[in-house]
Every structure is written in C-alpha cells, then in structure tokens.
C-alpha cells in the first residue's frame, strides 16, 4: 500500500470501507431474517391464533421477499427512518440514540486507559533487553489470549467482591447520565481496556523493537544523542503509522466487547440493547444496533488507515 500513490491508496481505503459496510448490512439483515420463529410470534407471546399472526405479519411487512425488505430497510435507514421495535412499538431511533451516548462515554473512558497503556507497554517491552523483551511479549500474548469473560469476572471478584472498592453493577436510575456517577464507569472501562491493551501492546512492541534496531537509530545512539531524543526523532516517526492502526483496532475491540461488558454490569448502553434485542428476537433493533456498532468500527478503521497513510515515512 505504501508503494501506491497516496491519492489512489486513499480511494482504495474508502472503497474497501464502503464495501465492508454493505457486506455488514447484508450479514446483519440476513441473520435477523432467517431466525426461527419470527417476531410476530415473539410479540404475541405464542398466544395469538394463526389468522392474527398472518394479519400481523402482513402489517409489519414480514411476508415480502428477503431482498425487497433489505432494500426498503436500507433505503429507509438512509432517509433516517429506523423503523419501530417489534416488541415495544417504540421508534428504534428513540431506543438507540440515548444508548449511543452511554456507550460512547464508556468506550471513551476505556480508551483513556487503553491508549496510554498500549503505548507504555509497547515501549517497555519493545525497548527491553532481548531476553526480557521475549518474556514480556509472551506475557502480553498470554494476557491477550484470556477470554474477556474471565477479565470481567476477576475484576468484579477482586475489586467489587473482595475489596468492595467499586460497585459490582453499573445500574443507573433513568435520566441520570453516567458522567454524574463516574464510579460506575471504572470497572466496565477497565474490563474493556485491559484485554485490548495487552493485545495492542504485544503487537506494537514488535514494531518498536524493529524501529529501534534500524541502522540510523543505532547510528544516532553511537553519535551520543540522548535516548529521549533518539526515541522522539528516530523511533517514534516510524512507529506512528502502525500505532494509529493498532489503536484503531483497540478502539474497535472496545466497541465490540461493549456488548459483553455492558450486559454483565447492567450498564444501559448500545451493547446491552443489542444483547436484549437478540434474546427477544426484535429484528429492527438488532439490525440497527448491530449495524451501528459495526459501522463505528469500519469507519474508525478507515479513518485510521487514512491517517496512517498521511503519516507514513
């Protein structure tokens, strides 16, 4: 990619992001459409007779061909018509938008922890002596392999259960913004940040080590340049582009994992809404929340790719 002209590479990034977004929408919509037992049955709790179910299916458009429903749904989505929840009859936008802000606050808090941690770990492990660097890399890889469910459970067990420093659940009274009760954000933010920080740190440590081994870096050291200047002027510029990509992947991981973490902590964000809607087979809500979360990830990766292109040496 670095060999292509910047403009062409930029267009390729955007085209790939667009294609990914379309693929994502197809996957999401197809998945909610083939589920066994449709929303008409779920909504009536299995008590309605066949005639009533048929009327309900027709009224909600559940009988049209699949592609037609996808097309009208996608077109409606672009017009700002996100449909109504099959379970509660409320507009999907009304359900999703407040959750979006809550999830943005939570993932923002997680990134406040994760980004400095990734960079610190990468430099710590990447610049250590070879033996230590290997051990550090192995430890980070092992930590990154631990399932997030375990991280969540151990954090709650130690910080909430045994030490009682923090609340084990992050339930907020309706109308209270999470920033008014910052203590409920700490555990879920840590649970989101720690696994992805270990993963990102392990990945970036290799890049830092490679950059430090470059001839011009050794050269600068031999010339007697102070270490901090070597890192600022000769190492950091080469780590910048990969770092942007890794940090975008870390952010993407936090957005995806929000479903797990929010559900365990009872934090009313987008992820918790998605999990509840999946369990309740509320197709419009699943589709919009799944797609929205996915689009954040896709757009974030595209922006990171563009920034990385711009700063690549």
């Amino acid at each position: 990619m670095t060999s292509a002209p910047p403009l062409r590479a930029g267009v390729a990034v955007l085209a790939r992001a667009g294609a990914t977004a379309v693929l994502l929408s197809v996957v999401v919509f197809a998945a909610v459409e083939v589920l066994p037992g449709d929303a008409a049955a779920a909504r009536t709790g299995g008590r309605a007779d066949a005639a009533r179910l048929a009327r309900l299916r027709e009224a909600t458009g559940l009988d049209d061909p699949l592609w037609q429903r996808w097309l009208s749904w996608a077109a409606g989505l672009l017009r700002g018509d996100w449909g109504t929840s099959l379970l509660t009859d409320r507009p999907v936008a009304d359900l999703v938008l407040p959750r979006l802000a809550a999830t943005a606050v939570l993932t923002g808090a997680a990134l406040l922890v994760a980004v400095p941690l990734v960079l610190a770990l990468a430099w710590l492990v990447g610049t250590a002596r070879p033996g230590r660097s290997r051990v550090g890399g192995a430890v980070l890889t092992a930590l990154a392999a631990v399932p997030q469910a375990v991280v969540v459970a151990v954090l709650v067990l130690v910080l909430a259960g045994l030490l009682r420093w923090l609340p084990a659940v992050s339930l907020l009274p309706p109308g209270v913004p999470p920033l008014r009760r910052p203590e409920v954000l700490v555990l879920p933010a840590l649970a989101l940040a720690l696994p992805s920080a270990a993963w990102g740190g392990a990945l970036l440590a290799g890049v830092v080590a490679d950059a430090c081994a470059a001839p011009h870096v050794r050269d600068a050291r031999v010339r007697g340049m102070p270490p901090w200047r070597v890192h600022r002027d000769h190492v950091a510029p080469f780590v910048l582009a990969p770092a942007v990509r890794v940090l975008a992947a870390v952010a993407a991981g936090a957005v995806s994992s929000a479903a797990l973490v929010e559900t365990v902590f009872g934090y009313r964000g987008l992820g918790e809404l998605l999990v509840g809607a999946v369990a309740g087979r509320d197709a419009p809500v699943v589709a919009v929340t799944g797609l929205l979360g996915g689009l954040v990830v896709v757009v974030g990766a595209a922006v990171a790719d563009l920034v990385a292109l711009a700063v690549t040496r």
Binding site: R16, A17, L23, A142, V146, P147, V150, S257, V278, G290
Partner: protein, 258 residues
C-alpha cells in the same frame, strides 16, 4: 521455554478440559449441598448458588467450550490454508480477488457478527461461523505470503525441474515448509474460537442452565462471589490455563519456525 514444551502444555490442557467430566465426583447438574458452601469437606471447591458441587461443574464445564474452539479453529485453519495456497500459488488476478475478499471479511467486527448470528442459528454454530469469518483471513494471509515466497524458491524450482506434478510439489515440498507455520497459526485460531465461545455462552446464547459451562459459571457465581469466591475463581483459572497454554504453544512453535 523449551521449543515444543508449550505445544505439549497446550495439548495437556486441552485433553484435561475434554476428559475432566469423567472424573467428576458428583453429578454436575445435581443439587448436593447447601448453597454457597465454602470449600472443604466433601466439596473441595465449595458449592454454587443452588448447592451444586463447583469442582464437578469445573471438571465437566470445559468440554463443550474446547470442542467449539477446536471446531472453529480447525475450520478457520482449513479454510485459510486452502484460500491462502490458492492465492499464493496461483497468483495474478486470483490472488488479488481473493485478497480483496479476505480483507472485507477481516474488517467485519467479529463479536458483533457472532452475536447477531446467534439469533438465527444456535450459539455454537454462530461461534464457528464467526471464528471462520474472522480467523480464516488471518491464516490465509500468512499462508499466502509463505506460499508465494516458496513458489519462487530454489528447491521448489528444482522439484519442478525434476518434472514433479503440482500436487507432488505441494505435498512433498510445500507442506513440510508450511507445517510449523500453520500449526502455530491454528493455535491462535483456537484461542479466537474459545474467546468467542465464552462470550456467546456468558451472554446466554450457548448452553442453558443447569448445564455446566465455565463461561456460564462465571456469570452464575458472580453474585455469590463474596460467599464462595472459588465458584468464580475456579472456572476463571481453568479458562486462563486453557487460553494461555494454547497461546504459548503458538509462541514456542513460532520460535521453531523462525
């Protein structure tokens, strides 16, 4: 760590997780004691919120997760090797098209896809599909790069010069060269499958109570963690051992492959 020791550790942990249920002292689903008993006496790890034996549930609770991760990891590796070989060995337009398609798949947010799929199909199937969609592109990239490198190498040219068929070159020349690389990669795909399986199970889209399952146990036993911490700590330790053992086996294998 000695090369190979990691691989042995990984295999031992997997086998232990698969066969643990056979030596469980109690029926993992049966109520055998008072709820949240602390470890001791007949229950070395205490009991959970319903009075079931934590040790028996831990011993029996890994098999399904391991099988799912093995299935997802094996399917992702197989698909990745086939596609990667095709792209790397054939090259040209095929390579570019396959690489572009894999890039698209790799850009999908895995966990969200797995969750959304979990409504349409059983949780286990959603995990395997997502593990393949997310893992196969990574394997394919590794195999593709290696295959296209080896294609132009001297020993492959020599084999071709001897008049060996493409199949023979692939099996006799390429497979041994790719083997360690693919083995290390497969371990990482296993870890990915395990992580997905844990998340989907914990969110309630996998095995249903009272089935023992490490991920489900974490959630079930968390509310009583202050009364019997072993209910959470034991399945957590089992999962850490499994994930780290397998991940380390990938690291030590990679060391051998260079």
């Amino acid at each position: 760590m000695r090369p190979g020791a990691g691989a042995v550790a990984g295999v031992v942990v997997v086998v232990a997780a698969l066969s643990g249920g056979l030596v469980a002292p109690h029926d993992p689903a049966a109520v055998v004691g008072t709820p949240f008993s602390v470890p001791g006496g007949a229950f070395p790890l205490g009991t959970d919120g319903l009075g079931r034996d934590v040790l028996s549930r831990v011993l029996a609770g890994g098999a399904r997760l391991v099988l799912l991760a093995l299935a997802g990891g094996a399917a992702a590796t197989a698909a990745g090797v086939v596609v990667g070989l095709l792209a790397g060995w054939v090259g040209g337009v095929t390579d570019r098209l396959l690489t572009a398609a894999l890039d698209l798949l790799a850009a999908l947010p895995l966990l969200l896809v797995a969750l959304v799929l979990a409504v349409a199909v059983p949780g286990g199937a959603a995990v395997v599909v997502a593990a393949v969609a997310g893992g196969a592109p990574l394997t394919a990239r590794v195999v593709r790069d290696a295959a296209s490198r080896f294609r132009g190498s001297g020993w492959v040219e020599a084999a071709r010069g001897r008049g060996e068929s493409t199949g023979a070159v692939l099996v006799r020349e390429l497979a041994p060269a790719l083997g360690p690389l693919v083995a290390a990669d497969a371990a990482l795909r296993f870890v990915l499958g395990l992580q997905l399986a844990c998340t989907v199970a914990l969110l309630g889209f996998g095995p249903q109570p009272p089935s023992p399952d490490w991920a489900l146990m974490l959630r079930e036993n968390l509310p009583g963690a202050a009364l019997n911490p072993a209910g959470v700590a034991a399945p957590a330790a089992a999962l850490v051992l499994l994930a780290c053992g397998v991940a380390w086996s990938a690291l030590s294998r990679r060391g051998v492959a260079g």
